[in-house]
């Protein structure tokens, strides 16, 4: 009985962390000034937020097929989203978008 409660508390904690990171990433995507900083914001949500939420669900599912599938989703998400971010930044640079530098650096 005890460890059920512990699992539930852990799940709730991870979900809270995930949602908080997700919302902060969303606000960052909305508020930050240029493409590269926004990409930083999405990086936060894509990696840690997905990890926290999917891991919380995995805790609830236990050792079942559902957990295995969640694990697949997690691995796939983490690998592809980092790859997509990398390729996106590279193409953006190639296309002539430059990072917005701070005021001191502005010449």
């Amino acid at each position: 009985m005890m460890d059920f409660c512990l699992l539930d508390i852990l799940t709730a904690l991870l979900l809270t962390v995930g949602c908080f990171l997700g919302i902060s990433g969303g606000v960052g995507l909305y508020r930050l000034p240029d493409f590269f900083t926004r990409q930083h914001a999405t990086g936060v949500t894509d990696s840690v937020c997905s990890f926290a939420i999917l891991f919380a669900l995995m805790l609830q599912a236990g050792f079942t097929l559902v957990s295995v599938k969640l694990c697949f989703v997690l691995v796939f998400l983490i690998v592809t989203s980092t790859t997509a971010t990398h390729a996106l930044a590279k193409t953006a640079l190639k296309k002539g978008i430059r990072p917005l530098l701070g005021r001191e650096d502005k010449r």
């Binding site: 799940t11 709730a12 979900l15 995930g18 949602c19 997700g22 919302i23 990433g25 969303g26 606000v27 995507l29 909305y30 493409f35 926004r38 990409q39 999405t42 949500t45 894509d46 937020c49 997905s50 939420i53 999917l54 669900l57 609830q60 599912a61 097929l65 559902v66 599938k69 969640l70 697949f72 989703v73 796939f76 998400l77 592809t80 989203s81 790859t83 997509a84 390729a87 996106l88 193409t91 953006a92 190639k94 296309k95 002539g96 978008i97």
Partner: protein, 92 residues
Amino acid sequence: MYVASALAILVVMGLTLVRAILGPTAFDRLLAVNMFGTKTVLLIAVVGFMTERPDFLDIALVYALVNFLSTLAVLRFFERQISEGTAPTGEG
């Protein structure tokens, strides 16, 4: 618990949607679409648990796949534009 997370994910989706609509450059929009896809994957997983039928995670996997695929398609579109020399700036 699941309902609260689902609503939080919906809030994030809303913010992302705003960026996709405003986004000054095409890359901002693409970034927003990419993040929207990731959030959809999470939403599906959470809704599956919320409705007590969590065995439909295949769909989430497909979403992750398709998200990657469409991002690549757009990148290919940009590279094609670069190699053709049209639209040198990323506006649009």
